[in-house]
Amino acid sequence: MRSRFAALALSLGCSGARSRATPPLAPTATVERAEPARAGWAVVAPRDRPPRIDGVAALSDGSMVILSGSGVFRVSARAEVRPSCAIDPDLVVGGLHASGSGWWTLAGEAFAPAVFHGGAGAAGCAREALPPLVARNAPPGPLRSTQSGADSLVWSSAGPIARSRDGGHTWQRMPSLPEVVAMAASGATLYAAALLGSPNSRTPFNRHGYDVFSLPEGETRWTLSAAPGDRAAPVALLPREEGGVLGLDALGGFEINAHGDGRVAASTGPHFARDRPRLLVGAAPDSAIGLAEGMLSVHRLSGWRPLPPLPEERVATAFDRAPDGSLVVSDGRELWRVREAEAPTLLLRTPLGGGRPARLAASGAVIAALTGPFRLSVSRDGGETWTSTVIPSEAGGARSLSVLPGGVVAVITAEPPSAAGALPTGALWVVDAGLHRIELPSGARVFESGASLHAIGDRWILVAGDVLVSDDQGAHWRPTLGAPQGRGEGWGVVSLAAASGRTAYALDNAGALWRSDDAGDQFVTISPGRPAEGAAALRQPQPSSDWLRWDGGDALLASVGRQLIRFDREGHGAPLATVRSAVFGAAVEGGALIATSAVPSNAVECVRDGEPLLMAASSAGNLFPIPAACDHRAVAWALDGDALYTVDADGLIERASLRGLWREAIESGPP
């Protein structure tokens, strides 16, 4: 956790926690002209909750706890989030369980497991060390945990088991049983389902087959129950009121009574392979909740039924049953309440409305983010409050997002081309008080990348193959820069940068730089780019890797193919460095800050899930990754003067000083 919640949770005095606190929130963005020496990372949004949800547990008092990274947070019924526990970030944390109005979670590995638990309404948590869950002659194996009635159970696949009957305060060792996949306590007897074959074995047999074992109170050995016949995991074991256990699994279900006699249900469970649950968790006394490919289903002895899916194709990743019978479901970012035959309702939202962020833009106090192809979230107060709009899916995918100086947010979308070789049909969507669709002028060419909207004063400047301007908010467009003599349809402007005053620069796909000093009415070439090789040799603009950015002062940074070029205001260019697939960049002092999705081989440890790598280029053209930025794992960037905004895959928006970040990198970089 790198949010301020870690710092708040830390102050609660949870043992074992280490500081990863970040500086407090910075004031709303302003264009800073000073030369800050430090990056000064600050959280912009969300400010009232952690961005990610890894686990959820519903407590008996109606509140919930969520696990986010190494932090546990309490969520009230009114969706107020309070940090509850900070766990040592080096510990693997898994399995968050409600125990009455308290909660507990398992952390660490088999050699030194620990349980963190918090009481009803209490802030803070306590740590209890468990005995090592290792067995002789067996690899340690992963840890699992469950809460069954009043019994808290923790075990390792190697066999050792520990049980607590007081909400996780004290733990006792139980007789071992290897390869347990599910456990339940029913009356004075423990039941466990254990796999027939080791998951590590090369055997093709019984990858899912399991047997049910029972352990009556006081016994020292588990007894095999022959009752349920042949079964296939996953399985949920549910205690029966009259003793014994109800098992619901991938094939259907069975019951074992208190005497060990069994009955197999007539139901076969899901018939189609794709409906087979990957995970089954006991919910009500007679049902279990299954999770298959992000879709939830409720399983009973009589059969199974799907539960209403989360909207907008969200995938359920964690869930728990609330005391009122509903389910609290997380899609990894938001919390939903799901009931059978009812549309899900949102319990805890994120500023960006879930989904992986794709584009970010900022200007002054206005910040906009696109998540997925269609959801546009806008804050007009520097990230404090957000509104969300959904662009109709018929519009196709978003190709650009911009915040114009007046606070107008604009998105250019493109429907897939109707015929092979044709260009997509585009539209401009503008968000002010509402969402408006503005048709692009005929002849506009919406390439994969390069279509964008800019503004100088009241004038809009559209880049869509050619450059077009409008003085009436898109009602009428006038082309002002088109293909030069001898260049055909292969020519196009790939990027435009509106500079100070009425100056704008445009970069075409031949690498030529154009300047206009009258807000886009007339352009003149100030740098010729590559020698003309004939129209046939010109290529379409490269996705994302050809762009132009003005640094707010005297320099422009352009990415053309693999070349990063610094231009001065007169168009004198000097190659700065060679970077493949630069997706973002800005000139800083004599060098630049660049994000690339083609990570150099010497920096792979920085990138985990394909996030682009942020690198500093010194004025001499030396490139080196910025390890401090690696931790932020940004997937999209926006620049507003010196303020560099980043958003990570979870929707956490942060801000840093561009110059401070660059300076830090240069000073701490190799000589």
């Binding site: 093709p204 042949d230 899901p270 794709r274 409906d275 549309a343």
Partner: protein, 504 residues
């Protein structure tokens, strides 16, 4: 939110079903799949039960609508369309050409629709005619001209494969019409299925026998020239075979004993394995010769053990015991040996004690020898199956099979459960169909995680109505091709069940 119950209550004459967005369509489709599973279970896994056909009609508008409106759900919808092929899909078949193509095979299974053949492209004809012949043997006549026109090197094998599954009368008619085309080529230029088919015709048998008797190759060289399927076909042929041929094949068997020719042996084992669904048809008088040839392939040919088991090879139990005790045996053979010992151990006390002793020895070696292909718990289950299984009679057998572990159920069936009784058959079918979803393939080993399924599918001498549900066994991996060991057995089962279902 629309759920299936609302959908089903909608009047059927509503031409245009309500428009659903993607989440609602996803939910409705999942509801439909749950209903399908429930109805199939209630119908004792008989896809032709009235309730199943009624469900097919009810689901048709939903499936067609989902197919048309929601591209991401098409594969899901088609899967259910292919399982149901309701008559209600007919208008949509005409309206949506792509769906017509996707559904053609299962459509022909349920509906006699000659216009479909005419409208689809000629490249699809052979496949469609084969499906038609499989489910409607009386419509098998076009197969013969199809084979005569087909390229011997490419087009014939699939047609012969289908012909092998035809009932005797139709198969004979097909052979009469095609044998001249088949024997016009040298046996080595024909594909295995046609060779297996030709052996049923006197002319074809002469053709194959002379090929074997005239062969002057060394056995290993001969086998490389596609003699393996010829040998397998002649061995398993249901008609008379020249004794000199069997002598020569026995000589080849000797060769396998003497020479460690791994590639030739592997080829022969593969040919014999492909022949496996036809084994139960082998002439009883020739079984000793067949078995001696099979045994000659050596203990490494573990893929043939299920065949030896289904032929009742009395020496298989001893071979499996020896494998369990051998320190040199490979992991896959070991796993199969545990199963074979458990299934074939005779009921007498001494044999059972030998089997239990061998399993105990293996269990004690698992950890010290680092054996991971067999789990201790699997051995324990076979141990208790050998101890507990007894021949059962009457409907009480159903209760035994219901709650038995898979090894115990499989051994009970091997010992002779009354499968002709409806209650017993229902339990067996349910267990096999449910376990059938979990069949896995591994390096061509003929096996499944369910011993009961392996026993039942390799057994089924006929398909009485209570066992007809076995034909609904469906491999778990969507889109699995002919690499699954289950498919030839399932095809044979379908062929037999279709035949049985049509008997007055």
């Amino acid at each position: 939110m629309l759920v299936l119950s609302q959908l089903l209550s909608a009047p059927s004459e509503a031409a245009e079903p309500p428009e659903r967005d993607l989440p609602a369509a996803t939910l409705a489709l999942a509801e439909a799949r749950a209903s399908y599973a429930e109805t199939l279970s209630r119908s004792d896994f008989r896809e032709d039960a009235p309730a199943m056909r009624a469900l097919a009609e009810t689901l048709a508008p939903l499936l067609a609508d989902t197919w048309r409106r929601h591209r991401p759900l098409r594969n899901h919808a088609v899967e259910l369309m292919q399982a149901t092929a309701g008559d209600g899909l007919r208008p949509f078949l005409d309206a949506i050409p792509g769906m017509r193509f996707a559904l053609a095979r299962s459509w022909l299974r349920w509906h006699d629709d000659p216009t479909l053949l005419a409208e689809l492209s000629s490249s699809e004809h052979p496949a469609l005619l084969r499906v038609l012949a499989l489910y409607r043997p009386e419509r098998a006549a076009p197969l013969a001209p199809l084979l005569r026109d087909a390229d011997p090197a490419f087009g014939r094998d699939g047609i012969c494969h289908t012909a092998l599954l035809l009932p005797p009368v139709e198969r004979r008619a097909f052979l009469d019409g095609t044998i001249s085309a088949i024997v016009a080529q040298a046996p080595r230029d024909n594909w295995p299925a046609c060779i297996r088919l030709a052996v049923e015709h006197p002319a074809g048998r002469r053709w194959l026998q002379s090929a074997v008797l005239d062969a002057h190759y060394a056995p290993s060289g001969a086998l490389r020239e596609r003699w393996a399927p010829i040998a397998a076909a002649l061995l398993t042929a249901s008609g008379p075979v020249d004794p000199r041929v069997l002598t020569r094949l026995a000589g080849w068997g000797e060769h396998f004993h003497a020479a460690a020719d791994a590639s030739s042996r592997n080829e022969l084992v593969t040919a014999l394995e492909r022949q496996s669904p036809s084994w139960p048809d082998t002439a009883a008088a020739r079984r000793p010769a067949v078995l001696s040839f099979l045994r000659a392939t050596g203990s490494a040919a573990v893929r043939l053990w299920p065949l030896r088991r289904s032929l009742g090879d009395p020496t298989l139990f001893r071979d499996a015991l020896a494998a369990l005790a051998s320190p040199a045996v490979d992991p896959i053979t070991l796993a199969e040996a545990v199963r074979v010992v458990g299934l074939t151990a005779p009921l007498d006390a001494r044999s059972r004690a030998e089997a239990l002793g061998a399993l105990e020895l293996l269990r004690s070696r698992l950890l010290p020898w680092g054996i991971v292909s067999v789990s201790p718990r699997e051995i324990d289950r076979w141990h208790s199956a050998i101890e507990l299984a007894r021949p059962c009679a009457g409907d009480g057998c159903a209760a035994v099979l219901e709650s038995a572990t898979d090894p115990l159920a499989a051994r009970t069936v091997m010992l002779g459960a009354p499968l002709e009784r409806e209650a017993v058959a229902r339990v067996v079918v349910r267990r096999v169909v449910v376990a059938g979803e979990d069949f896995v393939t591994s390096d061509g080993v003929v096996t499944s995680p369910s011993a009961l399924a392996a026993v039942m599918l390799a057994r089924a001498p006929s398909c009485p109505p209570p066992l007809r549900g076995l034909a609904t066994v469906r491999p778990a991996i969507v889109g699995r091709g002919r690499t699954s060991w289950l498919d030839p057995w399932r095809e044979r089962l379908i062929a037999r069940c279709t035949l049985e279902a049509r008997r007055p």
